[in-house]
Structures are given as structure tokens and as C-alpha cells.
Symmetry: C2
Amino acid sequence: MSSFDFTPVLAQGLPPPAVKWSGFPRYNFVGGNNDADQVPVDRLVAASNAVLMREGATLATYGLNSGPLGYRPLREFLVGKLKRDAGIVCTIDEILITSGSLQGLDLVNGLLLSPGDTVLIEQECYQGSITRLTRRGVNVIGIPLDDDGMRTDAVAAALKELKSKNIRPKYIYTIPTVQNPTGTIMSEQRRRELLKLSEDYGVPIFEDDCYADLIWSGKRPPAIYAMDQNGGVIHIGSFSKSVAPALRVGYIVAKWDVLSRILSIKTDAGSGALEQMVLAEFCAAHFADHVPKLTKGLRVKLDAMMESLEEQFGTSAEFDDPKGGIFLWVKLPDNVDTMKLYQAALAAGIAINPGTEWSVNAAHSKSRLRLCFASPSVTDIREGIAALADVCRREFGVPTRSANIEKTARA
Amino acid sequence: MSSFDFTPVLAQGLPPPAVKWSGFPRYNFVGGNNDADQVPVDRLVAASNAVLMREGATLATYGLNSGPLGYRPLREFLVGKLKRDAGIVCTIDEILITSGSLQGLDLVNGLLLSPGDTVLIEQECYQGSITRLTRRGVNVIGIPLDDDGMRTDAVAAALKELKSKNIRPKYIYTIPTVQNPTGTIMSEQRRRELLKLSEDYGVPIFEDDCYADLIWSGKRPPAIYAMDQNGGVIHIGSFSKSVAPALRVGYIVAKWDVLSRILSIKTDAGSGALEQMVLAEFCAAHFADHVPKLTKGLRVKLDAMMESLEEQFGTSAEFDDPKGGIFLWVKLPDNVDTMKLYQAALAAGIAINPGTEWSVNAAHSKSRLRLCFASPSVTDIREGIAALADVCRREFGVPTRSANIEKTARA
């Protein structure tokens, strides 16, 4: 502890201090962590050896020999991958490698947002996106979702109303392909409608596709960026979900007139070279094989989680079977306040995401929660959901005892 | 080119767009690039193999198993390294791994600065630090330097004057150990005086030690952080200069009450794991041997640059022999405007840093320039400085022809 008093020199509006990290909880159903058994360690080692032996000396230079957009072979891989998977036609000069898609969020926000601005986002939304907007002093308008994703009729109504107040929102932010947390995939029809609204109102679309690789069927609609004729879409993606989250490699796809402005506010002297080099080497050879293997394993874990919820919570837990991803969005009975459940569960060694942290509609999300299933083992999923049911029963009287007895009999 | 018009939705106060990168100039005397021949490629490969085989599966988890402060073995290495080299006594909970020391700059600025604030910095200063302050709308007061570094008499005068105006500056920023661009090392006496002023006025010291490993003698004064009894110093450092700039690994050292607030604004889900892991593995075994070997090679390049300047510019180029680092701060005759020289030189394939970009005192720096010597080969240094002399002679009439003829006769 210092005797120097920093209080008078702190910046305005800082968040509260972080608490000291004390390890992961016993049952960890939060965070974008992935399946440790599926990290392709041997192939990453081989990739690392090959690329370092060949090009290691270039580490002496910021940006390697690729310039500020990022390691060229990784951008070359992405040109092919984005075409094949998302239908995006772009050049290596329209891709900026970022330190995770989170830096992509920060850069796009930095490009477009000033305090007091307004944006449209999906009502249920990635917590990190919501907190970033709050910290920037931006007004957020939440658009409800249904099975086809963000409701474009509600987008149209919001744009119309804002226009009547002379407000032009800075962007429409969407996670259209495996939406976080709802897991929905926006239909092609909706994507077309959203593009039309973007064009009509002069409001760009900010497409966050960071979970889009993790779809059980392997088939996805074209990216909104791919369907756009107009240049009004900025697209971000990530390798965190498809290869490994600790690597911190993502990317922005945009037309050069936009990307050149983003690049001028990216003042970090480039993203980590080793991660880019190893990923590029690995992905060129193995990405297309790796992802279906990974999603197959994730589906097994999702099945374990859905089965456990059915066993432990019975009809008290409602959810749709998501088409991909690493999380499940669950509705509990109306009397359950998941923020209180979150606190009680954490004390019992179980981490969950309370709904209100993943939504801008407190009333809608109060009895909902997000459960991540990629990282814990199937055994931990079963034990953890049973333990969560116990906590929930103790705190809120649901699920009723019968579900648990039934489960015990079966086990 | 897009037809969508982004102009109405851009944030306020953006810098101009970046220009497309077209490769490095023929003679590149700018940037913190290092000697490609000295990247320890074989040892990095060995480190990568060892650490990935042992811990590769942890890449599935954000922050590995180390929490948000960064990869624990790297912080453990730093505890020992900082003690041995800089006299800093700290724990692994007082070190935050960052994505280069540039992220350290951004985080400390984010902790302390709001628009309209005032800071004290060295009059000649790293360009990236100056531009960051400008972009944040912060008032910068430049403090002159002499051979012993930042002049504490001028710091005292500035603090006194500001106090009379009821202004408390947010920090005193210094690069005390191999100052950028002057190459000076602040004396211990000055460090003590600076700490006294910091305490008297309640203004923290922001110590940027990112070049401090590169000292020819291997000996350096204790860090200001190490001499502080009061907790009013924040220290940042980097592996960019000592191992490889493309790796993007730096660190912040601060007491936990400060670090916990910095951590709460570091929302990037951790710095790149692979870089941290490979660096930790490499450094634990080889850092202490690697650095003296590196600096020996850098000294050879510096000698080549100083000799070339003497040969090509004669008495027209004035400079001190720096005690370490990767750059030389050079004074040309008063009639030379190095901003114009920079433009003419770039057209001839020679990149230099004009003095006014590395200073907040335009009159003092107008005829000065910074030359980086770590990356180009000795041959390129000799050819490039000769070419620079030709451009300077053509544009400004100095150096006079004789120096070049003399050189040609010798060559």
C-alpha cells in the first residue's frame, strides 16, 4: 500500500478497481474459454517451428515485413477463408489484423463514437460491447430479437423515430451469426432488410462475426458484409473461438477509405507477431479440418448441458437448442432474479452470467442467464448444473425437489 | 471505394487517414527496429517447443491459468530481473503484462488524464508519447534536458508556477535511463530531487524505462521506482528493445492500489499468450546472456554511424556519444530545417526523424534529427549517411563538399 495519494490525480469516470484474481471457480460457466483438449498443440508446435526457422529474423522489425495491417500470410489466409465461409470478397488491403476482436470493437468505436452519440444494438448483447458503449457515454437503443435474430421491423421503427428527433445513430451493431447470448442466426431476408435500412438512413452496420465459425452444420448465411453493395458495413472476426482465445488475434474487414482511418487510430505498433505468424502457418494447413472437429466436440458438451438442465431444472429452465456457439441462453421462472442467483452460485463455486449483464432490457433479462459450455468437462457440466439447481432451489424455491430426485435415481 | 458516406458518422477529432504502406525505404534510420541478425531464433524455437508441449492446452483459457495480470512465469522472471538490473523490489501482483510498453502508456494515460489536464514531460521526447497527449487534449509543459537528463531545477520552477495558478499536473513523465531521443541517463542525484519534488507537490512520476536494458557498460542507476519510498511512481518497461520489437510485450510496475485501477481499464481480455509464454521460457534461461551480446553488436553499429557522420558531415553534425540505446540525436547547422530535410531525404529513399516531431520545443529542435542505427547493416549505415549528406548539401549547402571528397579519398 502506498502513502502517496493518487485520488486527486485520477481521470474522471474511472470504473471501480479490479479485485485480485484468485483462480477460476470450481464450476466455470462464464467467459469465452474453449475446450482445452481441442487445442491443436502438436500442430501449433509444428507451425511455430516452421515459421520461426523460416522468418524468425523478421521479429526484429515492427510489423515484420508486412506493414501496419498485419502479417501478410495471415491476411492472405483470411481472404480465402472469408470467401469460402462467409462469401466475402476482399483484398489483403481491406483486412486489418487486431489483438482480438475486442481491439476491433475499440477501434470501430474510436472511429465512429463521441460522447452523447446514439447507437442501435441487439437488446440481448455481449456484455463487453455494452460496457464499452456505457464507458464512452453513448446512448444505447436495444432492438429485440426473435428466432431469426435482430427484428428489422423494430430497427425500422427506431430509425424512423430517431430521424423525427433529428438524431442519426452512429451504427447498427449486430452479432448476426450465432448471436451472443441468444445463439440465433439472422436470416438472409433480415440481412437484406437491414442493409436496406442502413442505406435508407445512412447508418452503417457494424457486423461482429466472432462466433460465426462455430456452427454445427458448418453452413451459415453470407455475412452482411458480403451481401452489401454499398460499402456501409464494417465486419470484425476472431480466431479466439475457432482456435484459442488466449492467442488474441482478430481482424477488421472494411473498405480502404474506412480502414485507413481505423489504421490511423491503431497506435500500438502492430499486434503480436508470434501469434500472427503461428496462426497463419497453422491455419493455412489445418483450419478447414480443425473447425469441424472442434464443433463436433462442442456439440457433445452442449448436449450434456441441455440434458443436465432438463434433468435438474425440468420445465423450470427454458431454452432453444442453438445452432452453434459456446453458450446457452436460459430462461428461469419469473421469480428468479439471476443477479441474486449469480451471487449465491459464486459463493458455492459456480460462475454464471446473470441476464441483466448481457442485455439492455432489465425486465426481459432479469430471470435469464447465460451458461458457457466449451471449457468445463462433461462431468463438470453435469455436477455444476446439479449444484446450480441446488442453489436456485434454496434461494428461489425452483426447481422443485422432484427433478433432482428423478435425476439421482437415474444417475 | 465505397459509395456509402461515412463522413457524417465519424467521431470528432480523428487524425488524418493512414497512407498505404509501400515497404521500408532503402535506408531506414527510423523506428525502434532492431538487429535482425541478433534475434535469437534457435532459442526462441526451443522455448516455443518446450512451453507449448508443456502448457499448450492452457491456450483454451483467457489469461492462461495466470489471471488478468499476465502469464505468471513471465511476471516471476520480471521480479528477478527488475531486482537485479533496476533495484526494484516488487511482487508478481505488482506487475501487469501489457501489449508492448505502448499499451502501458495508454493505460497510465487512461488512469490519470482527462482533457484539459496538464503534464510535465522532457522537452525532447518520444514522438508517440507526445502525440498521445495531444490527442487526449492535454497541456504539455516541456522540461529541458542536459547531460544528466531532465533538469530538476526547471521541474521545480514549473511546479511552483503551476501551483501559483492552482494547477496540479497529473504526472511528470520521464525516460530517465537512455532518454529518447537524447540518449542521456538521469543521474542518481536528479532522481532523488525528482522524487522530492513529486512528494512535495503530490504529483506522481511516470517512469518509462523501455530502453534501459541497452547500456554499453551493462550498469545503470537504480530505477526511480526503486528509489521511491512513497508509492508515487508508476514504472513501465518493454522486451521490444532487449529481445524483439515485433513481439509486443511490455509491462507496468505499480503498487496494487494503482495497478488494480489500471487493470480495470485494461479490457482486452489479456495480452497475447504465445508471446508471453515463449518470452518467459526464453528469458528465464537466456536473457542475462542475450542482452550483453546484443548491446555489443549495437555498439558496433553506433560506431559506424558516428564515424560516417564525422566523415560525411564533418563539424556540421554535432552529437554526444550515447551510453546506450538504438538512436543518435544529432544537431545540424542552424540553417538546416530537418522537417524539410526529412521530406527531401525520404524522396531519396532515406528515412530520418525530424527533430520537431521528437520535441515540444520547435525552435530548439528545428535543426536536430534522430537517427536509429540498430536495424540497418553497417554497410547501409555508411551508404545511407553518405546519401543523407548529399541531400542535405543539395538542400541547405551543408556539409560543404570537402567532407565528402575527403571521405571518398579514404574509401
